[in-house]
Amino acid sequence: MAENASALQLLLTGDPALLAIVRLSLAVSLSAVACAALLGIPLGALLALTRFPGRGAVIVTVNAMMGLPPVMVGLALYLALSRSGPLGSWGLLFTPLAMVAAQTVLVLPIIAALTRQTIEDLWLEYRDELAAMNVGVMGRIGTLVWDARFSLVTAVLAGFGRAAAEVGAVIIVGGNIDGFTRVMTTAIALETSKGSLPLAVGLGVILLAIIIIINTVAWTVRRAGERMSG
């Protein structure tokens, strides 16, 4: 990004470096949330509707994983993806895909845990009706997830918030490479370390604005959907 310019100036003039950073931030975090939702929603629902020994321990573990320190996830993935690590031949370290993987690990427990709670509450409410329908676990999961879809938007948004806001994991597995793996949060960390505090604050404001816009879109879609489905 150009030196001595404010973040707002960069945004208004469509500074290509800034736009690339914003785009990569969205690409990485939205991809991670999509992966985590595809895995986490079925997982959470399954956990809500099945009974097995040790279920309580699994639920506690998933809930606790919501507090995974990003820097720990970054370090574990770094060691796995490093050329000297078990997955080194994939050549994924310091790439956006590694960042997606790290954020997926961070977001997955949040979506799974919140889905589990939502579906379990709904299950208690509709238990008798569903039991009368005489469908299997998979059928129940499908029905309940579909019924809870608007509530699950909140779980997905919580996951997105986590992904978009974290810096600890992506800076380790991404390396904050200019024009390749630099995202909003790592750019803020870099500008802070360069002493360009106003630019760092400006980038933070832009990041916050993007998060607000995405939440607004989600809320609007949810409202429209609820109205359509009566």
Partner: protein
């Protein structure tokens, strides 16, 4: 999924894919230091190299110790750092092919303008550090095994002072990069050892200024090495060597010398000096 959400999903994916599927060809990863990145040097020289060769250089900026570790693990093709003894150890372990001196600048002792240690304008860095110790005046250390940290430790040793014995008191070891150390010194009204490049480029100088400079012992040499392809076969040796050859060529050396901030030159090329 309703058709609206499906269309939205497809649109998002289409937007994301080009960002994720970046070509891996003709790019090299250089593990380097925060001083070269934060000072803006790479932003100045890399486009020139790319225009000439078409090779894209991805810089991972870490402290010298961490950058050497990254290279040791095989996660970089080239390592460009500033701690000659650590670089020679890296070579001796067989992780590097050959070390090339590239450029130098110097370290400066930065401190509050009101100069509580009474060292401003002096040239003897060791005497200045002794004064900080005797008067128990706050000093911020990188504490991160970076080139600057190693240089700082060598200077304390020359002064006959063990900073570890004073950790938590006036000696504050923060374990972070140069910029973070300068920000901490600003906040604490403390002294800090910085490379001149990062100091010149630093945007939050506030009430700090250079207190001690010009001592021979503050010399700061940068060197570059190709990671040994015999240790890590995936290293892009040809492209990496091309980058090194360019850095030490007259053209690369001129590009380094041309980088200035507000008229001040940040790095002085010296690839021709075999002893550097």
């Amino acid at each position: 999924m309703t058709s609206i959400t499906r269309r939205l999903f497809v649109a998002v994916l289409a937007l994301l894919m080009p960002g994720l599927a970046d070509a891996q060809d003709n790019t090299i990863v250089v593990a380097s230091t925060t001083s070269t990145e934060d000072s803006g040097l790479f932003r100045h020289i890399l486009p020139l190299f790319r225009a000439k060769t078409g090779i894209e250089v991805k810089v991972v900026a870490q402290g010298t110790g961490q950058a050497l570790d990254t290279a040791r693990r095989g996660d970089a093709d080239v390592v460009f750092v500033h701690a000659k003894s650590a670089e020679e150890a890296f070579l001796a372990q067989g992780f590097g092919v050959k070390r090339y001196p590239v450029m130098y600048n110097d370290f400066v002792l930065v401190g509050p303008k009101k100069d509580p240690a009474g060292v401003a304008g002096t040239k003897d860095i060791v005497a200045a550090l002794k004064a900080l110790h005797d008067k128990q005046i706050s000093f911020v250390s990188r504490g991160d095994r970076s080139g600057t940290h190693l240089a700082e430790l060598a200077l304390w040793k020359a002064a006959g002072i063990d900073p570890a014995a004073n950790t938590g008191a006036w000696y504050k070891s923060i374990g972070q990069g140069m910029g973070a150390a300068l920000n901490t010194a600003v906040a604490l009204d403390a002294y800090v050892l910085s490379d001149r490049g990062t100091w010149l480029a630093f945007g939050n100088k506030s009430d700090l200024d250079i207190a001690v400079q010009g001592d021979k012992r503050l010399f700061n040499q940068y060197g570059v090495m190709l990671v040994n392809p015999q240790k890590h076969p995936h290293v892009k040796a040809a492209a990496g060597q091309q980058f090194i050859d360019w850095l030490v060529s007259p053209e690369g050396q001129r590009a380094i010398a041309d980088y200035r901030i507000n008229g001040s030159q940040l790095f002085y090329p010296n690839a021709q000096d075999p002893s550097a």
